[in-house]
């Protein structure tokens, strides 16, 4: 059953003869019918440091692929030329699972996985470059959950990647640290780009469009890593996110209103600047606390020390959806303002006099940018004085600039 190449690689590895697959060597996968087996065998038997080349072509897989050898590059002939289709997958909950450090996946496409597209768990230095992950039938609740999904990883690079049709998040980085997501496109997903329970991320020069929500910075309770912080979202375009939410309801992104540009939920030390937001029917920029009840003493549900500045706002808020329609629209009327903060703060003192410095929301935008602090907490305490604060000048100040993330895999030219 095994192809000649597969058999050869296997034979050499077993015999301890490393001439053909020493570190830095190149393993070419033939366009054989049994690529499932030959590619998986190469992924297992490659010596650390090898490059595995997959030729141009459309290849069908029935099971998940997995990589657990360090410092392996898997390279196709281009993200529209080398296509790994998982349409007929019967086992495994992702297309490609990576658990080894120093992985680089490049110039290929993963299509139609029943589960996640590419998942990297517990990896130090994962690079996804010029990759496409797509569900070819468009937005559908039956599509897999995440397109590109590094979790519990550090030194994460996602560059020039395209994700379409994920039923949860297109590009999803969870419980990770030291992250760059750049020059990528996310469209027709529920969440375009989502950074969740993560520290030190630069999300820049991406285009997020026709998702339910464009760019989400979230933090959730009851997880090993929480308290997301130190995130910069800059020079992105989050435009026309107008796809109805098609996530299965139990998931947190299932609560995201259709038409949200950039959304920060809990987290602290987040800087959002130089982005272009527009044609988002619910709201361009939304800052909120975690909305559900939770049982986790170590979790801070609030969005704190957020700095939103020098963004460009197009049309937004003319047709709010979901919770925004039910809870925000009655307070603000139409259209919803460009920037909305729920006003959730930690206690009575902050409700009356504003959060302590270091916990506050700071906004510096061009004159004419509309804003509302919904004063949810204040209104609970003094319902007879219920109202919203639209005066953007009450929210001056800034947070100290943070240095750009630099990843080791880029320093070494890997």
């Amino acid at each position: 059953m095994r192809s000649t190449i597969g058999a050869l690689v296997f034979y050499l590895a077993v015999m301890g003869c490393s001439a053909a697959n020493a570190a830095g060597s190149i393993i070419k996968i033939g366009p054989a019918a049994d690529i499932q087996e030959t590619l998986q065998e190469a992924l297992i038997l490659a010596e650390p440091g090898s490059t595995i080349l997959i030729p141009e072509g459309l290849f069908q897989f029935t099971g998940a692929l997995s990589l657990d050898v360090p410092n392996i590059t898997v390279r196709g002939a281009g993200r529209d030329k080398t296509i790994l289709s998982f349409k007929g997958q019967i086992s495994g909950s992702e297309g490609l699972l990576i658990t080894s450090d120093g992985a680089r996946i490049e110039a290929l496409a993963i299509e139609d996985t029943p589960g996640d597209g590419i998942k990297a768990k517990g990896v130090d230095q994962i690079s996804i470059i010029d990759v496409r992950v797509e569900w070819t039938n468009g937005p559908d609740a039956k599509n897999g959950s995440y397109g590109v999904y590094p979790v519990e990883s550090k030194n994460v690079l996602i560059d020039r990647t395209l994700v379409r049709g994920a039923s949860d998040a297109g590009i999803y980085v969870g419980q990770s640290q030291q992250i760059i997501v750049r020059n990528s496109v996310a469209e027709f997903n529920v969440a375009g780009i989502e950074i969740e329970n993560s520290y030190f991320a630069d999300v820049h020069d991406n285009i997020s469009t026709h998702n339910t929500g464009g760019i989400l910075i979230f933090d959730l309770p009851n997880l090993p890593q929480k308290g997301g912080h130190s995130i910069r979202v800059y020079n992105n375009k989050s435009i026309a996110n107008d796809t109805a939410n098609f996530a299965p309801p139990g998931n947190i992104v299932g609560t995201v209103p259709r038409g949200t540009g950039i959304m920060v939920m809990s987290n602290h030390d987040v800087e959002v600047y130089g982005n272009e937001m527009g044609e988002n029917p619910t709201v361009n920029m939304l800052i909120v606390a975690y909305p559900n009840e939770f049982d986790d003493d170590g979790f801070n549900p609030l969005a704190q020390n957020i700095y939103v500045h020098d963004n460009i706002y197009g049309r937004g808020g003319w047709d709010p959806d979901g919770a925004a329609k039910e809870q925000i629209l009655p307070k603000t009327g139409l259209p919803l303002p460009d920037i909305i903060w729920d006003g959730a703060v930690d206690g009575v003192w902050s409700a009356f006099f504003g959060p302590n410095s270091g916990d506050a929301i700071h906004i510096k935008e061009k004159e004419g940018t509309s804003f509302a602090n919904l004063d949810f907490v204040y209104d609970m305490i003094v319902p007879w004085d219920a109202g919203i604060d639209r005066d953007i000048t009450n929210y001056g100040g800034s947070i100290p600039p943070r240095e750009a993330i630099i990843l080791p895999q880029e320093k070494t030219g890997n």
Partner: protein
Amino acid sequence: MRVLYSVLVALSLITGSLTATAAPVNDETILQPRPARLLSDYNLFVGASAQTPNVGVHPFALRQPLFTDYAHKFRFFYMPAGSKAQYSETEVFDLPVGSVLVKTFAYPADFRKPAENIRLVETRLLIHQKSGWNAWAYVWNEDQSDAVLKVAGKSFPVSWIDSAGETQNITYGVPNKNQCKGCHILAKKFTPIGPKARNLNFEFGYPGGEENQMAYWLRNELLTGAPPLDKIPTVAALEDTSASLDKRARAYLDINCAHCHRLEGPASTSGLFLTYSETNQAALGYRKRPVAAGRGSGDLHFDIVPGDPDTSILIFRMASTDPGIMMPELGRSVVHSEGVALLRAWIKGLP
């Protein structure tokens, strides 16, 4: 399975006193960093197709086994002569370098006659080498004379008649090396799962007669650091209706889920922790929201809704065979109806 093993031993005794003449277990092959190509190269068996163990290879069973598409399993352990395993009250025993854990997966043609027409499909070896544990899968050949190493996995059709007389057809999946690690990784180290005190402490049908496995290990000086037998923990069997639902369900979750669903395991990211000793209700899934379940959530909001199995994600995922939804992710292609029934009853009774 117990019955089957005794029958097999009896058969091998009739066909000749193999144990007296067979070559010993091949310690040298066991310690080679590269795996042997054939299962027979290790000399773990004197009658491989009958699963008759060589000298120093001991059979064992787990009170609650991992469900693997209804496969019957023959388990053995081997330790180098004179060495002992280190006891642990909560974790898997620490077997010395040179040890092998052996698990053969088999399907009797008719589950109502489990000792007849048995097809061996796969034997997995966990070998403890100097560099750590290693896992290798050997797939049995057509004539059942030997099994051949398979590194990249394999799938093939298997069928049997189940205990209700129905024919079952599945695509059996032999895991590749990475998939082995998918369950066997604990705090970044490859680790065995099954042989824990609580899951071994019960009566087993040895060739010489019934005996508590822990008593057998102690009597044969295979274990060090163990407390007296009455201080060793135990768990309830799935079908043991004299034990509480809670005890049976927690033991089921422990062996089927907790190797991944624990802080040190591959599903740490979920925050759902199902080890036998877990006491934090949110970590156990009680009204816990999913994190990255995607469509695995099945439009439901909580992992476990006490009193309501129908709205518990845990049940939804156990009852699915869709690779984007099902749990466990690996090792099954059919639903374990008995397991689902147990956990449904357990959740229904939760306050």
